[in-house]
Amino acid sequence: MNWGSLHEFLAMGGYALYVWGSYAVTALCIGLELWLLARRARRARSGT
């Protein structure tokens, strides 16, 4: 275990912007792609 507290975990040793900026944008990209995939699948099924 590397972190003494939640605050310490979120602070990422002062690199919070860089570390969480990378992970958050990755999560956003994947979320967006899954949403687009679901929408396309729905439209392809209904034939519109």
Partner: protein, 259 residues
């Protein structure tokens, strides 16, 4: 459909004919659905394990502190960006040679996911470059060739969606994809061929990895998660592409309950 596979059974032995049967979009559609569920579940499992190891098991880096934790998505995304391009070009080439309909559909299904991972590799690289190099971006051989990879994906997507006839779109896209493959070894070897700011490979086939075992475990788990996710995403997309392109076929109309 049945006539094809029956006549092929005479010439090819079991496994070969089974593979050829699945080259038909109609037969591949349900198979892709089953595989997509498995790959999706594996992606979630590997991502959970990978994130746990990346944040709670892997130690703080002696030189870079916590900023190095970007590596777990950066390397996975960068590997996938190159790997997916090669797979995409492989399907495209197969489509050119064999003229199978499914090949072009697979190439089109992979491109957006490949572009997404290329973007993530560049984005996480910028966020890693700022604290370690002091710059978001440098025109270094590794970074520049990775940016070219992103433009190749965009070019492929733009070209194939600009041509109305799917078969012609597939062929035009295939030529672009195959020519662009030359960029992949350039990205991979750029850190050796040029004097780059980007560090060399942390993991190679010929040398022991230059990092702690738990860091390596986290990286490999995240890479596996990215791999499984890519397969799931491409299979999900190809199912939609199959339905879109075959929308007037009886089996698709039957699927929609039109008949």
């Amino acid at each position: 459909m049945t006539i094809d596979s029956d006549s092929l059974d005479d010439e090819t032995s079991g496994r070969g004919s089974a593979l050829l049967r699945f080259a038909a979009p109609q037969a591949f559609f349900p198979l892709a659905g089953r595989m997509l569920a498995w790959f999706g579940a594996l992606a979630a499992a590997f991502a959970a394990a990978g994130l746990y190891v990346s944040f709670f098991v892997a130690p703080t880096d002696a030189q870079q502190g916590e900023s190095y934790r970007i590596i777990f998505i950066h390397v996975a995304a960068a590997w996938m960006s190159m790997f997916l391009y090669v797979v995409m070009a492989g399907w495209a080439a197969l489509g050119l040679v064999l003229s199978t309909r499914l090949s072009g559909m697979m190439a089109s299904a992979i491109a957006p996911t490949g572009a997404m991972f290329t973007f993530i590799a560049l984005w996480s690289g910028a966020l890693w470059g700022k604290p370690t190099w002091g710059a978001w971006w440098v025109w270094d051989a590794r970074l520049t060739s990775e940016l070219i990879l992103l433009f190749l994906y965009f070019g492929f997507i733009a070209l194939t969606s600009a041509i109305d006839d799917p078969r012609r779109a597939d062929r035009a896209g295939a030529v672009l994809a195959i020519v662009g493959v030359i960029n992949v070894p350039i990205i991979y070897f750029s850190v050796k061929w040029w004097n780059t700011l980007h560090q060399g490979a942390s993991v190679s086939l010929t040398q022991a990895p230059s990092m702690a075992a738990t860091m390596l475990t986290g990286m490999l788990l995240m890479a596996l998660a990215a791999w499984m996710y890519s397969f799931a995403a491409a299979l999900w997309r190809v199912r939609s592409i199959i339905l879109e392109r075959e929308r007037d076929a009886d089996w698709v109309r039957g699927l929609r309950g039109v008949q």
